[in-house]
Assembly symmetry: C2
Homo-oligomer: 266 residues x 2
């Protein structure tokens, strides 16, 4: 049976709200995901929250009922609360119908099976959580094997990244690695490392990609270090006709990934 919390002052509410903060997430090794769509996506991939919060009026929604049932069956806790408290948990005026507290999960390089997919995404020092989530969502759409985050990237479990991923955080494996271990792992098997660069004459549409293709996108402001570009098997550029000579990192990744997908599908 779900328990009820109707007081802001309940210490659990503060503890959950604190998960919006990176330091608290790291300590608790838990994170927040919001919204019925994202939690249902998670449930369908077998990920259930340790705690599920929903507002009393949502009690009769069949997807909420399915979540409550599965969370409780898995030993988690379902908690009925008020719209005000849900709104406080989500930090949004427009409260989502449900908020889940998930245990963090992590994939390591050794866990990845590179024969499983033709496209893999690699992002280096990615700083914007919206970009990270959007890249995960693109990864889901192109059937990428995973997203490998190299160097100091934004936390994939931040509220903004989870939200922008629209559930793809639960469907696309995410690995955090430093550059050298990544390169060592990559060179231990087949794989074409393709870097997106401004310093090449090779148009991304004229290059040939060989599966498994690892698409490397550099930092939003600086691109990738020269040494990383030098380690790539291929550098390609996306043509830019405008004045700004720059694309959003998530957009550039998607344009590349869809070109590789089109080639690989024939």
């Amino acid at each position: 049976m779900p328990r009820e919390i109707t007081a802001y002052s309940n210490p659990l509410i503060k503890r959950v709200r604190d998960l919006r903060d990176k330091r608290h997430r790291r300590e608790a090794r838990q994170f927040l995901a919001e919204g019925l769509r994202i939690l249902t996506e998670a449930r369908e991939t077998g990920r259930l929250p340790a705690m599920l919060f929903y507002a009393a009026p949502s009690r009769l929604h069949p997807l909420v009922q399915a979540l409550v049932r599965d969370v409780e069956a898995a030993g988690g806790e379902a908690i009925e609360t008020t719209a005000d408290i849900l709104s406080k948990l989500s930090g949004k005026d427009n409260p989502q119908a449900v908020v889940g507290v998930f245990d963090e999960f992590e994939t390591s390089l050794a866990d990845l099976d590179r024969s499983r997919a033709g496209i893999w995404l690699v992002a280096e020092r990615l700083r914007d959580p919206g970009n990270l989530g959007t890249i995960l969502r693109t990864g889901d759409a192109v059937g990428a094997g995973g997203l490998i985050l190299v160097g100091e990237c934004v936390d994939p479990f931040s509220v903004e990244a989870v939200r922008a991923s629209m559930g793809a955080l639960f469907t696309v494996p995410v690995v955090r690695s430093d550059w050298q271990p990544f390169l060592h792992w990559l060179r231990g098997g087949p794989g074409q490392l393709v870097g997106l660069s401004l310093d090449t004459d090779i148009d991304y549409r004229s290059a040939t990609y060989a599966a498994p293709t690892f698409l490397l996108t550099g930092n939003e402001a600086q691109g990738m270090p020269e040494g990383y570009a030098a380690a790539c098997d291929l550098l390609v550029k996306i043509p830019m006709l405008g004045k700004a000579d720059s694309l959003n990192a998530a957009v550039a990744t998607a344009v590349m990934a869809y070109e590789v997908l089109a080639q690989q599908r024939g």
Copy 2:
């Protein structure tokens, strides 16, 4: 000569800070743009802020000096202030080097010359300011003639949209219109209206685009109304292999726009 403001309580500071709010922007018909890169981009396209704020330590930066000179020559005002106040104006802990207050500018459908570009972007009920800015940035990169916002879209002059556009707000004309006036204008000349849809079997890579191509992207959550889809000359879909069956709206627009660009460049 720049004047100095060093007190938070200065009424001008409050007035400028209020421009973060849509209601105040509408009343003042002015908006904020932040950062040396974006303001320099604006300056290069001939757009100068009515007011330019910079922190005293930036005084010697050559790009800041160029901005101050041009703003004053154009009858605007340059204001030297503290890092704290700049940070208050920008609403960010990490204050940008400069903040500009610009007069709003607007383009109407009648101002557009459709022979000027092969690609035009059309977004319908776009709600996320980051998506709007990112689409403008893509529009700059593909050489789009403009972005036409149809229906109730997010304000292109919001701080988040301007920031995400990385200056493309100043290089890509933006028109706000309702659907009927847009359609009427469109059908008054050549133009292929291409809608991005899930309800079609035509893959975006197998379709043929005819310049000027108008790429229509629907609302982030709902896509476009049926009537809008019916008015399109062509509906295409981007393949999605994942579980979520959805791409970020700015990503989908970019994947489409780059396919059209590749075809048009041969």
